[in-house]
């Protein structure tokens, strides 16, 4: 008997351990329905937004039921699962979209049907929402199709990274520039824009607004300078525009007490690579950026760090790593991110993104171990991700709860001689880190596949897209409008993110993580390299800041990066990519 008891316990233990793999299903299942399992990336946007949507869809569907599995599965794991037909779920909502290899191997379902669906009660199809931004659509189509045929990934979220700052704190401390009451051009521009103001000494305060476009001032607010977009009451008001103004602002910040200008997560120091990418592109221009990933400058010469100009083709693609803009970006990083006077000491440790957020939010207490940090390198999801800390702070200080402070993005300053986004030195660049995707591994059950497509289409209705943004502050890269009520419900930061994302006239979004992951030189070769390859004495680092912190000089990084690939190494990689059918 004793043996039987032991055997039973051990057998149960063995079975439990053998079945312990796999994600956690968040709720029970309906035995009368066929389940559609969805792995949802549980990052900054969380998954509560889709829970509500799937509950409504499940209630209206008699045969199928969507079941969520929130998890943080890596791209590598998902790629492996889908290309080996071992996926344990029917749909993936992913933070990254580097699945071109899976598309090439025919491991994913074609979701083109969804693009023709009309889910808003109007003639507008989901495809119409995707093609509204033609430039973005073209890139997405290239990565999500098989040589232009089909659509094997649908966009999910599109979140950029930048320097987040507390606008209220910056105004209180006089770190932004106020509009001058004595400047007739300023007052004329305000009047032309429909902004009614009052003079307050040499400054101006906002009184009311008669225009039609949204402004982000409330009565009594100081009116700041117009920012790079030239308009008042927008996301960039009061911000420094030139490098000189930027330097002045940073020095003002650190001159107060033990203030620091910047903090970021040391554990994911790759966040700072998006600053490098944005600065590089802002300097060298969008054409140079495109050449950086496509290894094709379309016959145009682009300027290198050594003063030479080169036409980039796949055959000499490695030459693009000597881009002049990269040098400028490394210089910027060295001056401001590799300077202990400007940087919170914890950024050099292994602190996680959550710890960095907590330090940033608690910085106002100015404790000796955690000085105030003026800006944090973060993505559009951060406020939602840091809700717990906001709520904890709100218990002591209600004015600092979630959505109470006006957090904004600080645009990068213009460098002398930069190409900007129009080739004439204007505009700002921001880098998208999370270009999320929805993929469906091959499914042999046509009924289930139809149900999956129906659910996906449902989540892409205007109403559900709005709900996603309203709740998470994160944007999905489809064309949908928010109502004034939506905007009121969103935090000031989420509103800023929305405004920046949609200001295509002044802001260019680049997607280095996506472009790198979808570059055949990366996914179709055995080569394993990082997307900026900062090199110190032949040792490649995963990001510029790591190389700088390891003691590399600017010239070591720039020259090392430019010379990392020689003709032989490059030809080997290019040969593999060509053999796989690319760059031919």
């Amino acid at each position: 008997m004793k043996k039987k008891i032991i055997a039973t316990i051990l057998t149960v233990g063995t079975l439990l351990s053998a079945t312990a793999c796999g994600g956690t299903v968040v709720d029970g299942i309906d035995k009368n329905k066929t389940q559609i399992y969805i792995s949802i990336y549980n990052g900054g946007a969380g998954y509560s937004w889709i829970e509500k949507q799937k509950n409504v869809w499940n209630a209206g569907n008699e045969k199928y039921e969507v079941v969520l599995q929130p998890e943080k599965t890596s791209t590598k794991t998902v790629l492996n699962e889908v290309t080996t037909n071992s996926a344990s779920v029917d749909v993936y909502y992913l933070a990254e979209a580097g699945y071109r290899a899976a598309i090439s191997k025919d491991s994913l379902e074609d979701l083109s049907d969804i693009l023709t669906m009309k889910v808003d009660g109007t003639e507008k199809t989901i495809g119409d929402k995707l093609t509204a931004n033609q430039a973005y659509y073209n890139t997405w189509k290239e990565y999500a199709s098989k040589s232009g045929e089909g659509m094997y990934m649908l966009p999910y979220s599109d979140s950029f990274i930048g320097l987040v700052f507390d606008y209220d704190a910056f105004v209180e401390n006089n770190w932004l520039t106020k509009a001058s009451a004595a400047d007739a051009q300023v007052t004329a521009a305000l009047t032309a824009q429909g902004i009614v103001y009052e003079a307050s000494g040499n400054a101006l305060t906002f009184k009311s607004y008669t225009g039609s476009e949204r402004v982000n001032y409330t009565e009594g607010d100081y009116i700041m300078t117009a920012g790079k977009d030239g308009k008042y009451g927008t996301y960039d008001d009061g911000q420094p525009q030139t490098l000189e103004e930027w330097r002045t602002m940073i020095n003002k910040i650190v001159s107060v007490g033990s203030n620091k200008a910047l903090i970021w997560t040391g554990q994911y120091s790759g966040y700072t690579e998006d600053i490098v990418a944005a600065m590089m592109t802002q300097y060298s221009g969008l054409d140079a950026y495109n050449a950086y990933y496509s290894f094709d400058s379309k016959g145009e010469e682009i300027k290198m760090y050594d003063g030479s100009e080169k036409v980039i083709t796949p055959d000499n693609g490695y030459a693009v790593y000597g881009l002049e803009g990269y040098q400028k970006a490394v210089e910027f990083m060295d001056t401001y991110f590799n300077n202990s006077r400007y940087v919170h000491a914890k950024s050099k440790s292994n602190i996680s993104h959550s710890e960095a957020q907590n330090l940033y939010l608690l910085g106002y207490r100015n404790e000796s171990s955690n000085p105030f940090s003026a800006m944090i390198v973060e993505g559009g999801w951060w406020e939602n991700e840091a809700r717990a800390m906001f709520n904890a702070i709100a218990e002591r200080d209600a004015d600092r709860g979630y959505g109470k402070r006006d957090y904004r993005y600080m645009l990068l300053p213009a460098l002398d001689g930069q190409a900007g986004i129009d080739g004439e030195g204007n505009g700002s660049v921001l880098a998208v880190r999370n270009s999320g995707a929805i993929i469906v591994p091959k499914c042999s059950d046509s009924g289930k596949l139809a149900a999956i497509k129906d659910f996906l289409a449902y989540t892409l209705s205007d109403e559900n897209l709005r709900a996603f943004t309203r709740e998470t502050g994160v944007i999905n890269s489809y064309d949908y409008e928010l109502t004034e009520a939506d905007r009121e419900e969103m935090t000031p930061f989420a509103n800023t993110v929305w405004d920046i994302y949609h200001d295509t006239e002044n802001i260019a979004m680049i997607r280095p993580t996506l472009d790198f992951a979808c570059s055949p030189i990366k996914f179709a070769t055995s080569g394993c390299h990082n997307y900026y390859l900062p090199v110190k004495a032949t040792v490649p680092y995963s990001c510029v800041i790591d190389a700088l912190e390891a003691g590399a000089s600017i010239s070591e990084i720039v020259e090392g990066t430019a010379g990392y690939y020689n003709t032989d190494k490059w030809n080997d990689l290019l040969g593999q990519a060509k053999a796989a059918g690319f760059y031919s």
Partner: protein, 305 residues
């Protein structure tokens, strides 16, 4: 009677079989199958589409080219792996034996010491590493700030000058627990009469006792540790994955970690054959050396007599 015995034997075999079937299955799939596939793969070329062709020794050639060419990571990994083993052999092993002997002799606070050094073994490895990391991230800089006003105390796990030393320290510290369980137990199994006989023969201090009685008698345990450590010299990643996952500083790389990263980061299956060939080369290098090492230990080790 015979039938009853047979039935009893049958059920006993079934009982035992039910226990060993699952581990045997795992062994067959995850050891025999995986290694067999790895050996085959070393001689294959796999293209992007997954088509397999015979590659002969091309993958071996490529791996040796990487090893001898400009691959700073591979070089530092090899050096660090050797350093780790040598430090373990020259510094750690004597310390393990000394501490174990002190515990065996029931020195002052031996129970507390045993408890403290066992903590890393009791608590999950990931949790221990997390506590250690957070201690370095938060406590040490704060202590430096409070005591010396040092605002820029380096992070010991990230700074290029200290990261390898810190990893090494953690390895030594966390491996103490295993050693302080195994060695004292081996020492406790020594018959007290042998020690008493030694004392009669003139072994009248602890050093002599350790040298002439304890070490020879625990030598089989000692040599097992040395041999298994040697066999794993090129495959042991240490705590790097727990500390850094994919982003260990260059200075801390070792062969086990290098291989882990290569497998994790390889873009598609076309990268695996070179790694498989590399693995085979490593085995070819280490296996005979391990046997040689074992032979030396057996031949020149202390005699129990």
């Amino acid at each position: 009677m015979k039938k009853a015995l047979t039935t009893k034997k049958m059920s006993e075999r079934l009982f035992i079989g039910s226990f060993i079937f699952y581990p045997l299955l795992l062994f067959a799939v995850f050891y025999v199958g995986v290694n067999f596939n790895s050996i085959l793969m070393a001689f294959e070329f796999i293209d992007f589409e997954g088509n397999v062709t015979w590659a002969g020794f091309e993958n071996f050639k490529l791996f040796i080219e990487q090893l001898t060419g400009e691959n700073p990571y591979l070089k530092v990994s090899l050096i660090n792996s050797l350093k780790m083993y040598i430090i373990n052999l020259v510094i750690c092993m004597p310390l393990y034996i000394l501490f174990s002997y002190m515990l065996f002799k029931k020195c002052m606070f031996h129970k507390s010491i045993r408890f403290v050094v066992m903590i890393p073994q009791i608590i999950s490895g990931v949790l221990m590493a997390l506590v250690f990391t957070k201690f370095l991230d938060w406590a040490i800089p704060d202590i430096a700030l409070q005591l010396w006003g040092e605002e820029e105390f380096p992070n010991l796990l990230k700074h290029p000058d200290y990261s390898f030393g810190t990893v090494l320290f953690y390895m030594i510290w966390s491996s103490f627990s295993t050693s302080l369980i195994v060695y004292p137990n081996a020492m406790n199994s020594i018959d007290p009469e042998i020690i008493e006989a030694g004392q009669i023969d003139g072994i009248n201090n602890m050093f002599l006792e350790l040298r002439y009685i304890i070490l020879p008698l625990i030598y089989p345990t000692l040599s097992t540790f040395l041999i298994t450590g040697f066999a794993g010299i090129l495959s042991n990643p240490g705590p790097l994955t727990t500390f850094y996952l994919y982003d260990a500083p260059y200075e801390t790389y070792n062969m086990g970690y290098y291989y882990f990263l290569q497998v994790v980061h390889v873009s598609n299956q076309s990268g695996y054959p070179v790694l498989a060939a590399g693995g085979l080369i490593m085995t070819i290098l280490v296996a005979p050396l391990t046997h040689l090492f074992k032979w030396i230990l057996d031949k020149f080790g202390p005699e129990v007599d």
